[in-house]
């Protein structure tokens, strides 16, 4: 046991030293910066990669993380430079960012708005990141985007497909490279009309939450404009395992196309069960019954297996594209990880590069300068062809891919094929389009 000798003098001495120690630092307290987490004269600058590492979208999250790590390597001049070599802007020279080495921290969103915000907050408050990127769900993206706006950080969204992200929930500090539900509808509808005819009757099964609704609204509007009739829109609870009670009514509804507005595990379950019910072998109204999945991802397609053969859907990007940017990216990703990148990986890589490039062009880490550099920015060579970051809503406009499940896949990565590359002009819309109305970008917030 310890034995203490308390003397009056000892106590006074310690007290004086402690008092001085507490008073001293106020001299050194740094003056307020112009913006949140200003790296100042530090030799490094930190990015925050906030992706789902656990939960239903963990696979997508891991792939995003791979791509983000690769992007940081390329910005710091390691590896082969990937898409930096094909990028139309040459502001990044592989020596880091404004003379600082880029570092990153990672976090787990768990695909929950709360956890994602907690993780993002810890990145901002503890690690001092200046930009947050990643995510695999619209709910999370919108939640984190709001947080970044309040904190004075730039948010470069990952995979988020709901119209709301750049619609009613858009924020000045948030940017989305990924395409959205409206674009899916606009790209898919003409292909569907060509393949299946203009007098189809569609039945919607929709995941019952915000993303599902905007998806359903967009697809229904686009197909109806081409002459299809919407028989029924049925909402299914999120995460329900058994869809049989939703699929049986489809058989008797007189519909001849089933549109599955589901994502992730929900989509894998619903399409598998629809196929097991023999929907695709049926003839209705004298036509072959068809299934459509508006939003595809490689990982979902892998999970659904046989069921997706011949099923149409849309994607933001696919590794099978043949432009120079895609080739460079697939090469450096493949060499490092031994697999082709998914479309969520590509969007995160591109977002990280675009942010770094904007900083380099603006010559400043100040979020307001970065916002200015990104707004209305036109670029090429990042895998999606000529792309515009529209200033009105911070949405990227680029070509959209229409995909089909491959009939004879040769290996586990070769399960989807590109049917059509819908040109950008066809998926553009006015910023005040009713599906996107009601939001306000607000002012850029540099924080501190």
């Amino acid at each position: 046991m310890s034995k203490s000798n308390l003397t009056r003098r000892g106590v006074l001495k310690t007290g004086a030293v402690a008092g001085a120690g507490v008073a001293l630092p106020t001299i050194f307290t740094s003056s307020a910066s112009a913006f949140t987490n200003d790296p100042g004269s530090a030799s490094t600058v930190k990015f925050g990669f906030n992706v789902p590492q656990t939960g239903p979208y963990a696979d997508e999250g891991m792939d995003e993380l791979r791509a983000q790590e690769l992007a940081v390597e390329h910005i710091n001049g390691m590896g082969d430079g990937g898409m930096l070599n094909t990028f139309s802007s040459k502001a990044l020279d592989g020596t880091g960012l404004l003379g600082k080495k880029v570092e990153f921290v990672t976090g787990d969103t768990q695909t929950k708005s709360d956890a994602a915000r907690a993780s993002a907050k810890s990145m901002i408050e503890k690690d001092g990141v200046i930009m947050i990127n990643g995510g695999s769900s619209s709910g999370v993206a919108i939640a984190v985007q709001g947080l970044c706006q309040d904190a004075g950080i730039i948010f470069m969204a990952g995979l988020t497909h709901s119209n709301d992200t750049t619609g009613k929930d858009k924020k000045r500090n948030g940017f989305r490279h990924f395409f959205n539900a409206y674009m899916s509808g606009a790209a898919l509808a003409p292909v569907l009309a060509k393949q299946y005819g203009k007098d189809r009757r569609a039945y919607h099964l929709t995941a019952d939450y915000t993303w599902g609704w905007t998806q359903e609204e967009s697809i229904a509007a686009a197909t109806e404009a081409l002459g299809w009739e919407t028989v029924q829109k049925e909402r299914t609870p999120f995460g329900v395992g058994d869809y049989s009670s939703y699929i049986t009514p489809v058989l008797n509804s007189g519909a001849d196309v089933l549109i599955l507005n589901h994502y992730g595990r929900d989509m894998i379950n619903s399409i598998n069960q629809a196929v097991q019910f023999g929907l695709r072998d049926k003839m209705v109204n004298g036509k072959q019954f068809e299934i459509v999945v508006p939003l595809y991802s490689e990982l979902m397609a892998e999970g659904a297996g046989e069921a997706i053969k011949g099923v149409y859907g849309s994607m933001n990007w696919n590794w099978q594209l043949t432009d120079e940017g895609t080739k460079a990216f697939v090469k450096s990703f493949g060499e490092k990880y031994g697999r082709p990148p998914s479309n969520s990986a590509q969007t995160c890589y591109v977002q990280t590069v675009l942010y770094a490039d904007a900083v380099a062009r603006a010559g400043s880490f100040n979020p307001c300068a970065v916002v200015e550099a990104l707004e209305g920015f036109e670029f090429d060579g990042l895998g999606n062809g000529p792309t515009l970051y529209r200033a009105d809503d911070h949405q990227c406009f680029k070509d959209v891919l229409v995909m089909k499940g491959k009939e004879n896949p040769t290996n586990q990565f070769d399960i989807l094929e590109i049917v059509d590359i819908t040109p950008r002009a066809q998926v553009e819309y006015a910023p005040d389009h009713p599906m996107f109305a009601g939001g306000d970008l607000g002012e850029c917030n540099p924080g501190a």
């Binding site: 630092p25 990672t106 708005s113 709360d114 810890s122 503890k126 919108i142 939640a143 309040d150 939450y209």
Partner: protein
């Protein structure tokens, strides 16, 4: 002091000291060292520690005292959050009406659920509460979207009415004191953050803790403990226990509502996930991990779990490589390979293993661990005098509930 006996007063003073000095205690490592990864002294996490502390204290009032295991407590937390955010949307960003309404709404909601669920006990009660909570979650996620904003979570928009806002701040505040404001104190390489929001929550936590002590020590608390030890016997003596259990349930629900309101006050967004069964399970884990039926246990458990969730999930491979960079190459890769499954996405695994160890070796939770260490230290001090102190192997006395 405050009507507490000496032992409880000491406990309250210790807890107060820990809470007030938390910014120092939780940031033991210099900001630029490799160990800074383990610092937990940033506002968001400290706020979470005390908020979930409140939540767990409240849960323990029900579970620890009456033995009724509610598996749906997150529903009250979620309802409290929604109520608070609605106050922000309708009135202003001032946190006082938000927190008051959060507690009231959670209280009313728990009367409703408690009234139905408490007709059963044991596992049936647990299942009923679980069912109600899942129901609330699913309602919030889809059907009630106009009120809850579904998956996205309820947020405040610039076009909301906010009738009392005037030209007040655009962030949550207490009569002008912004919750997000913080003062950073740099001492050498250390940096300590004092956040207004944290101290605001901390005050609530101390009050909640004090109330919990008073309830534990009151005749009402004694009655609840009697319910736990033998409810049937109480019924046979002609005593109706339901009003007592319902009161405990409602108090506990109001604690959860307070926690929910504070969460919204720190960060004005309420997501449906807050009500999910995993969130309800988490508070059960917190309480058991810390020590059910003890006063300080749930707070420790809450801190422990939140620490793992926020600190371990952020360690990634490149951080590991930094740590082991002093080793030769092959050795370094090997160490990273060994540690890899336990960090980043593996934080659940680490937490699960620790939880198992605690439950197996310290059935009384972290509190029992503390008691054993204290006993060992005392025993070591006494050793020269009287050997092991218990040569006849007397059974240990039952631990005092407050320890």
């Amino acid at each position: 002091m405050f009507g507490l006996d000496k032992k409880d007063t000491t406990l309250l003073i210790v807890v107060t000291a820990l809470v007030v000095l938390a910014p120092f205690i939780l940031n033991p490592f210099p900001a630029d060292s490799a160990l800074a990864q383990f610092n937990a002294g940033y506002p968001d996490l400290m706020q979470r520690f005390v908020i979930f502390g409140i939540f767990a204290i409240g849960f323990n009032l029900l579970f620890g005292l009456t033995g009724y295991l509610s598996f749906g407590h997150a529903a009250f937390l979620g309802v409290g959050s929604y109520a608070a955010v609605w106050m922000f949307k309708l009135l202003s960003y001032n946190v006082v009406p938000a927190i008051v309404l959060a507690v009231i709404v959670a209280g009313l909601f728990s009367v409703l659920i408690g009234y139905v669920s408490l007709r059963r006990s044991g596992i049936y009660f647990s299942i009923l509460t679980l069912a109600f909570a899942q129901m609330s979650y699913n309602l919030a996620y889809s059907v009630l979207t106009p009120i809850t904003n579904g998956e996205t979570g309820l947020q405040v928009y610039s076009n909301d009415p906010q009738i009392l806002k005037g030209d007040g701040p655009d962030v949550t505040h207490l009569f002008g004191l912004e919750m997000g404001s913080a003062y950073t104190l740099d001492i050498g390489p250390w940096s300590f953050v004092f956040s207004a929001g944290y101290y605001f929550c901390a005050i609530f936590m101390l009050v909640a803790f004090y109330l919990a002590i008073r309830i534990f020590r009151s005749p009402f608390g004694l009655m609840l403990r009697a319910v736990k030890s033998n409810q049937q016997r109480m019924a046979y003596t002609g005593l109706n226990t339901r009003p007592y259990t319902l009161a405990a349930f409602v108090i506990s629900g109001m604690y959860a509502g307070l926690a929910g309101g504070l969460m919204a006050a720190m960060d004005p967004l309420a997501g449906a996930e807050r009500m999910q069964w995993t969130a309800s399970g988490e508070v059960v884990l917190m309480t058991i991990l810390g020590g059910a039926g003890t006063l300080i246990g749930p707070v420790l458990g809450a801190g422990f779990i939140k620490y793992f969730e926020n600190i371990f999930s952020k360690i990634n491979d490149s951080v590991l490589h930094q740590w082991f960079s002093f080793m030769p190459d092959g050795m370094e890769d090997f160490m990273v390979f060994i540690v890899h499954p336990f960090i980043g996405k593996g934080w659940h695994l680490t937490l699960g293993i620790l939880f198992m160890l605690v439950v197996i070796f310290l059935p009384g939770g972290l509190v029992e661990g503390g008691q054993r260490i204290a006993a060992w230290l005392r025993g070591r001090g006494k050793k020269p005098a009287g050997g092991s102190g218990d040569p006849e192997h007397h059974p240990k006395p039952a631990p005092h509930v407050a320890e």
